[in-house]
Symmetry: C2
Subunit: 358 residues, 2 copies
């Protein structure tokens, strides 16, 4: 299979490496503005995987030439933070061809739809399959030039959905060779809402906000940062997230249940489940509050969750609380102009039935 | 002057000691359920003051015989936490006589009115003066049997108001001999809203919640617990408090301005003002989240502030946020049945004009 990986960050390198190691022909492209590690990969002619993936995979880097990267691709994996999805969509759009399958990985906040719209695809089309994963299948970091370390490979709790729902099983089959843990989700709402980052990161960050500022994050995020109070806040966010999913006709795993299924955690609960999780040992806190744990997980994802909640009539007092507290703590009114909303996805004012059919 | 001090806690002992040292005849009473240090004072025949008050003051303890304590009293000082005010009012009510002056100290949440109602006084009467102080004039602790240490004696930022407003100056004169720093407030709204505890304590506690739980409060509450983020939350609470006061026709000092006026702080700002305040050096955090910093400052005072805000049309998104977060963190729905509200004070549905006239 020809696989194009869009993005140059930690996740993109791990995806490219693992698919390359599985014998697929891999190309990579990323915008000139944020090429990530692509120059290193180009220089090395490929990527070395360590940890739970192992070996050197040859990769063809096309720089910001998305046309060259996508030429003849069967599978396009779009790997990066939510803020980049539309940009990637605009870059890839002109080069998408009938029969291609795009997987936004992870989909956070209906990334599949955001990509499709930015790529200029019509709302209903079935020539190109656009899908998304609920989470990146790894915990991974680039540890040196063109070398990516995979700390943890997910064993489950990993879902895929295609826009329009009918092609989901086909995408799962396509991914199964490399990622057998992926199972099908009912719709992109399930993959979007299964994103657990807004459940974990803001709660732990805010209830440790002064310590993060005072020490520059010199403590263990999970082992020390998660306590009973943190757990209660996580549980309250999660209850709202699960209620939103139910209103959209999908069942999601609670965040600790997902953590256990993914192999990070041993206990399915909101406090010791995290503070004693083998998969989270030794992870330090962020060095500043100005970090994706707030700016993305609240500033993008939680605001998106709340926007959806309002559309389907689910009250979100805990999310409201976290959004307001984050805005005050960061001296930034995140709610004033949220980057991803139903409106920004062309879904403003749609009925719950229409939303469920995505 | 004959002075009856009601209560047996740290503040009550300091008040009784200081007024006794000034040559007044002091009696003390407290309920059998929570006598505090009164048995020790009875055994010692008085109270020893150390720190910023000095010497032994003879005190007559009447136990739970409030009639004996109040007999012939010119001034009755009701000293304790907000939760005790009504109880004290019920106990003192039958023994109040025309010409007496009662000072609820501190008044937190219109303690003067709560006391008057519990004492069975009619809404409008001028035979007995009921007043309140904005804050206890000390930072103080009982350090051994019948010995109270005053760490700090307030130099300013200390206000008195009498119910109905006309007797305020007379009460100030009565207190001036011992507490010359006391100045008159426009009304009990000013003394009630000048209470700064809900501005400081919940913000610092919540943004250090995980650290308090993990270490049992083994850090310095102000020097380590107050950071830029903490300061921003305090500032946001304070802005709402000041807006409520304005809607009620009174001007209050911002919390750091009060801290400077009281002599605790050198800088009038919300972060380094507190973390470097000479008056707050060395103060440890509470050993558990289950502490008055949340249970009283949110569970009573902030809920009262919000209730008043709703009556006068002031939005309180920051207080809403803190109340909800506290409820989740403590697994207790504080908003469900707040102990002190306009309704509990007989003020439900009153016009802003009527409220201003208190």
């Amino acid at each position: 299979m020809r696989v194009a990986v869009i993005g140059g960050g930690n996740g993109a390198l791990a995806v490219a490496c693992e698919w390359g190691l599985a014998g697929h022909e891999v190309t990579m492209a990323a915008p000139t503005d944020y090429p990530g590690s692509l120059p290193d990969v180009a220089a090395a002619g490929g990527i070395t995987g360590t940890g739970q993936i192992n070996g050197f995979a040859p990769v063809t880097v096309t720089g910001d030439d998305f046309g060259a990267a996508l030429e003849g691709a069967d599978l396009v994996q779009v790997v990066g933070a939510a803020f980049a999805t539309e940009d990637y969509g605009r870059s890839c759009g002109p080069h998408l061809r009938p029969g291609m399958t795009v997987v936004v990985n992870p989909g956070s906040c209906l990334g599949a739809l955001a990509f499709a719209r930015a790529a200029g695809l019509p709302a209903h089309q079935d020539e190109i399959t656009i899908a998304e994963l609920s989470t990146l299948p790894y915990a991974t970091r680039v540890i040196e030039d063109a070398t990516v370390h995979v700390f943890h490979l997910l064993r489950g709790g990993l879902f895929v959905a295609a826009l329009g729902q009918t092609r989901t099983e086909a995408v799962r089959e396509m991914l199964a060779e490399v990622w057998p843990a992926v199972t099908t989700a009912r719709s992109v709402w399930q993959t979007a809402l299964q994103n657990g980052n807004p459940v974990i990161h803001p709660a732990v960050t805010l209830l440790n906000a002064a310590l993060i500022e005072r020490t520059g994050g010199d403590f263990l995020f999970y082992e020390e940062g998660v306590t009973q109070a943190t757990g209660r806040v996580m549980a309250a966010v999660d209850a709202e997230r699960i209620a939103i999913a139910e209103a959209l006709g999908v069942q999601i795993l609670s965040e600790p249940a997902a953590g256990v299924a993914q192999g990070y955690m041993l206990e399915d609960n909101y406090d010791t489940g995290y503070s004693t999780a083998p998969g989270f040992l030794g992870i330090k806190a962020q060095d500043s509050l100005d970090n994706r744990y707030l700016t993305e997980d609240v500033g993008v994802s939680m605001l998106f969750f709340r926007d959806v909640a309002q559309a389907v009539g689910v009250p979100t007092p805990m999310m409201d609380t976290i959004i307001h507290l984050t805005s005050v703590v960061m001296d930034t009114d995140y709610a004033a102009d949220p980057p991803r909303t139903l409106a920004s996805l062309g879904l403003a004012g749609q009925s719950v039935e229409k939303l469920r059919a995505l």
